[in-house]
Assembly symmetry: C2
Homo-oligomer: 302 residues x 2
């Protein structure tokens, strides 16, 4: 195991512990929805968004982890609710995720709908606990307000929900334009990575110019990740990916790769990856892990 892998494993474990601290206790007449929420939150995964947020906070000089921790838990709750609702029979109708039954398979689609609602709402309740950490410090309170607004903006109709809508609309439609495809990647995937990078920086007191650059980093990383996903769907190793390749072609889905071909798509992934890394280096001298994380995220073969 390389140094990066070891460091990543340690950081994921640490993030997992932080998230668990913010989960609701399973008690009261509403116990069932709390169980369903926690079931979905404890399905595992790399906790990438809260991890990126925490790295961004520390990279920009943030030293008070208790200020960023509520937001780390909140962004994972938002990510999780979107998966729970996405998996519903009314949406993608998936029975399994990461080898475990999806929330609606265990608790029924009504309770899973409610659990998703509960998670989205609780994400805001949780993030607002950062106001207690800020206390009477008006500078810190201002940062928490800016971070909250980014959290809400990037998750909603001008962020992730917007991307999900456009994605549903594009399904089975062979005529998607490149603009539309980039819109979907930027909103469905990149918005939550942008949000993680931006919130970390804002809470650490970064200026607007820095936060704008990190937004651009998140955009590049998210879009490059998705184009790489489409490339792997054509040239990937089915065993490493753990899912069948060629599914986009089968679904007649227009992708960046079906428009531009594999070679030009790989170039685009490389271009975005390099620009993201350059921008990170511009905003911080303390960015070694972040750079490795970005490169690991994008240049995967699985």
């Amino acid at each position: 195991m390389g140094d990066f892998d070891k460091a990543l494993e340690e950081k994921v474990k640490n993030t997992e512990g932080i998230i668990k601290n913010f989960l609701p206790k399973e008690e009261g007449y509403q116990k069932k929805v709390l169980e369903a929420m926690n079931y979905s939150m404890l399905a595992g995964g790399k906790r990438l968004r809260p991890l990126i947020m925490s790295e961004s906070y520390q990279m920009m000089g943030g030293e008070e982890m208790s200020l960023v921790e509520p937001f780390m838990a909140a962004i994972e709750m938002i990510h999780t609710y979107s998966l729970v609702h996405d998996d519903l029979p009314a949406m993608d109708n998936d029975d399994y995720r990461r080898g475990r039954e999806t929330t609606h398979k265990v608790y029924g689609p009504g309770m899973a709908t409610l659990a998703g609602d509960g998670l989205l709402n609780y994400a805001f309740e949780t993030a607002m606990k950062a106001f207690d950490v800020a206390g009477t410090d008006s500078d810190k309170t201002g940062r928490v307000i800016r971070a909250l607004r980014i959290l809400a903006d990037k998750a909603g109709i001008y962020g992730m929900v917007g991307g999900q809508c456009a994605d549903i609309e594009a399904e089975g439609k062979k005529s998607s334009t490149e603009d539309e495809i980039i819109y979907i990647h930027e909103h469905k995937t990149a918005a939550m990575i942008e949000s993680s990078l931006m919130i970390g920086a804002v809470l650490a007191g970064a200026d607007k110019n820095t936060v704008d650059k990190l937004e651009k980093v998140g955009s590049h990383v998210g879009v490059a990740f998705q184009i790489q996903d489409d490339v792997l769907d054509i040239v990937g190793d089915q065993e490493k990916l753990g899912k069948p390749i060629g599914s986009d072609e089968k679904n007649e889905k227009t992708t960046y790769v079906s428009i531009h071909g594999v070679d030009k798509s790989r170039e685009e992934v490389k271009r975005r990856s390099e620009e993201a890394v350059d921008l990170v280096k511009e905003v911080s001298d303390n960015c070694d892990f972040m750079v490795e994380l970005i490169e690991w995220l994008i240049s995967r073969d699985r």
Copy 2:
């Protein structure tokens, strides 16, 4: 038409206009979800929660309507998302609401799920526009923070979502206890009325003692409203109600009335109604309309 009815009609119309100002423009690749959100928001209704909020704000001396308006729109968005999700095939499976097709009948259950998510998220984005109104005034900013936390708390797993979960759990279960029934009424219905009263007062600068009393008012009004609903289900006039009576008995649902009988239930409605009115009079000398509104809400025969 009496003076109260005329005043109510005028205020409802005014509230309607305020809400419309905060709805998203139907444009962009995510246009469909915006259409579905606005379809559900424009289904009519008395706009009771934002109306109560605005009345509470003014009753407590608030004079800057632009500070409370974002919260008025936000609470109606939260109320509306809860109806959209409640009507889904996975939940109550209702095709009609107020004589119009429900959102999922028009836009499909996937898009309706997303529209509900979009509304809940946009409610927070919208409420946070009050920070722009507060500007650099730290006192007003503090009020907006307190109001936001009440909004989130009363809508979530320790408020409305909690009540919805307990209600689903109680369905078809003949053995509900009185505690459980009151829990459901207090959370599913009363929490959003408490929230409206409390947020109005907090934004107007009311002290904690006043806000606590208004929370109690909301609790009494919400619970009394629901017990009255159960009473009408037994003794009501089917034509005035616009729905068949006796449905609770048919559904084998334990209600406050099935435990205590009609007479004791009517007494309880009266007791709670009087206590609510007394509390309102304790916190404000400028409460004539609020008192009439509470009495109108509870002692309805339809």
